[in-house]
């Protein structure tokens, strides 16, 4: 992680709509950070210092369980706020956020302007909408995940994350995301391949029948 300053810092601030969320001048309170691939933006248990707004890159939200199991809760893509929960409550970070590619985040120093933020109706309204959407998406995902077997959820996911009919995500990551074992994920891929719906190639999995994949995905609400 490193601070970005000067000309480059200005670039990121001006090319993003960060100011539009606030009704006061936010510039005195912001810093721009660059995170390398694999860096942690936020670490479970650490003291919150910044409200982050990711403008470039890709990250993953994790939680660690007592039994050592790690759950990948979500993929985070810009533009997105991170650490807003800790802004609202006096708590340490309860989850980790790790980049999966080089990322740029605008950081708003919490200590310096928490009070201003929490009195700004414009910002709060935006934050409410953000939180409520998050809650909707989350709740949909949750009910889905408990009501359908992996085959259906995977079909939906393959359709969403493939490019030009090629799927090439990391199995280790995706098994975490779905909260299933690596082994079972592979089983399910093999199952889809056996049914002639996808095919394994050097490049990744090739979608052979979008219709059948869609039919499986459509069984989900």
């Amino acid at each position: 992680m490193k601070r970005i300053e000067g000309q480059q810092q200005l670039y990121y601030i001006e090319h993003n709509t960060i100011q539009s969320f606030f009704s006061f001048d936010i510039s005195p309170y912001i810093e721009v950070f660059e995170f390398d691939k694999g860096d942690f933006i936020i670490q479970e248990g650490a003291e919150p210092e910044y409200l982050f707004y990711m403008v470039e890159g890709k990250a993953k939200l994790y939680v660690t369980h007592k039994n050592g199991k790690v759950s990948l809760i979500n993929f985070l893509t810009p533009p997105i706020f991170m650490g807003e929960i800790e802004l609202l409550n006096e708590e340490k970070y309860s989850k980790s956020i790790q980049t999966s590619s080089r990322s740029i985040c605008i950081g708003i120093a919490i200590e310096k302007c928490k009070e201003k933020l929490l009195a700004d109706a414009h910002f709060l309204k935006y934050l409410c909408i953000f939180l409520s959407n998050k809650s909707t998406v989350h709740s949909a995902k949750y009910t889905k995940h408990q009501a359908y077997p992996l085959e259906n959820k995977l079909a939906e996911f393959i359709l969403l994350s493939s490019h030009h009919d090629i799927y090439k995500e990391k199995h280790t990551e995706i098994s975490d995301y779905f909260g299933v074992s690596y082994r079972h994920l592979l089983h399910t891929f093999a199952q889809l391949a056996d049914a002639g719906i996808i095919e394994k190639t050097k490049m990744g999995y090739k979608i052979k029948s979008k219709e059948k994949l869609q039919a499986l995905a459509d069984e989900i609400k």
Copy 2:
């Protein structure tokens, strides 16, 4: 469902802190409703009319899946806002809320004061905190549920919902809540009974070993 008016209406308004969430006089916009056991406060697909604040009673939040399966997402207990998501976004209700006992809700007519609400920093701050807590709880529940077998989650639930070491919830409801089949829930109860941890009586299940139950629950993060 029936409107409560006059003296009784005043009672409910004054004995609750509803005014404290707003920085303007909310009284012109509110009505008090009484719902009988089993009534729907909110129905999936209906047009949002009120932001509800439940002050008495008990309710359940449901979603219906395409495949007909119904998931009990949560138990709602006062004081709690309901329909706040639909206040923030232009959407129909996406879930149903059904009372499980006679309930009293204060309803705030959305149409009449949506704009005032969304400009009130005091209310918005409270709503942000409410939404963020909801999100935290929800996310904890979600990751828990996908990382542990029913036995552990049930142990935790029995400890939480028993009174004087007697557990007596409806199996049908609880199997929905955990998103498992009724059959499997019974299996798991039988399993705990076989292990001598609980015992079935006419009154409900009696906890024989709080320690063992706690040990099972403690395996969860």
